[in-house]
Amino acid sequence: MGIFGYLLWVLPMKRFSAWAGAAALAMIFIPVVVRTTEEMLRMVPQSVREAALALGIERWKTTLFITVRTATAGIVTGILLAMARIVGETAPLLFTALGNQFWQEGLDQPIAAVPLQIFSYAISPYEDWHDKAWAGAVVLIGMVFLISACARYFTRVKK
């Protein structure tokens, strides 16, 4: 995926950039989300659709507002799983966003990313940097945890 992103964006643009990194991650993210969403919508029982139909609700409104709503929990979970999946991606970013130790000047420039930072610290020869890599990992886990917590919050049944 990283190499693909490299060929598709980095070479034509002649530079590593945040955009290329985002595009590479999106290529992992979007298919996963689409697939789980489709699956979740399919799992909504026919009786729900029939109930909406029998109330004189148009089919497109039924799908958009009722079927999707019934499947919200599943869809959000799918999105979060996909997010959790790409949060830790290092390889695609290595080939596209590259990483950046300095101040960010724009999204068309190489950009820093936590997994990249962990990667470069971890392969370094210094004890001190290893510690920083561990700290980075904690930050990453914290972010994943936060995402999941948000998901929980938004998918709870409204009281």
Binding site: A51, L53, L55, G56, I57, K61, F65
Partner: protein, 253 residues
């Protein structure tokens, strides 16, 4: 007009399999008409023809006419969506919308039918519908509970309230009590009797006693044919057809 629905020579097929054969019947306005018959004889198929619920079933085909207020509902000019707002339906399994509160469940039909309503107008309709469905007193302090957290009988009455909220003229009910305990079923029965002052009700049941208690008219189906239809008293005391008699005396079915 005296009849809310007039069915003329209605035939229906699932693929090659003919499920309804030349059904002709009139359904009297503001009365309860029960559709009876052994399982698989086409009762559900029949009442679903009355509000075009089969439109999306692949391979389904009808012939014949169903007149609602004198107009054929299968004509090109009829919008099935508008038709279903006039001819509502309650299903065998209570099916409140998951992830919606009781209030939202009742309000949902109004919310999507185009007309703008204020919050208080909405609340008014919800209260009125719940009262008609004999659920208001039990539920007025719990309107924000999820619809699916109610008991089975309450869920079914919630579904009735939901159907009433869009102000239909006809209510089709496909075995509305068969998934409920006897006490809840009795409440629904009582409700059907009350509602028949204002609504035309067609109810599928294969509970003989229930049909006897609630119906003004009974239609007896067998293998896709309408065997006979008459006043409930007549059907239960002196049916014209031997097969009807055999069914109501419990000799088959």
């Amino acid at each position: 007009m005296e009849n809310a629905l007039q069915v003329k020579d209605l035939c229906a097929w699932f693929g090659e399999h003919q499920v309804l054969k030349n059904i002709t019947m009139d359904i009297r306005r503001n009365s309860v008409t029960s559709v009876m018959g052994p399982s698989g004889c086409g009762k559900s198929t029949f009442i679903r023809c009355l509000n075009r619920m089969h439109d999306l079933t692949p391979g389904f085909r009808v012939a014949g006419d169903v007149l609602f207020d004198g107009r054929n509902i299968y004509s090109e000019k009829i919008d099935p969506v508008l038709l279903r707002r006039k001819v509502g339906m309650v299903f065998q399994q209570p099916n409140p919308f998951p992830r919606m509160s009781a209030f939202e469940n009742v309000a949902v039909g109004l919310k999507f039918n185009g007309k703008k309503r204020t919050r208080s107008e909405m609340a008014e309709v919800v209260e009125k519908s719940l009262r008609m469905a004999a659920l208001w007193d039990e539920l007025k302090d719990h309107l924000d509970r999820p619809g699916t957290s109610l008991s089975g009988g309450q869920q079914q009455r919630l579904c009735i309230a939901r159907a009433l909220a869009v102000e239909p003229e006809v209510l089709l009910m496909d075995e509305p009590c068969s998934a409920l305990d006897p006490v809840s079923a009795a409440k629904i029965e009582e409700l059907i009797e009350d509602l028949s002052d204002k609504y035309t009700i067609v109810v599928v049941t294969h509970n003989m006693q229930q049909a006897g208690r609630i119906s003004d008219f009974v239609a007896f189906f067998l293998l896709g044919d309408l065997i006979e239809m008459d006043k409930a008293a007549k059907i239960f005391t002196n049916p014209a057809d031997r097969r009807t008699e055999e069914y109501i005396t419990g000799r088959f079915g």
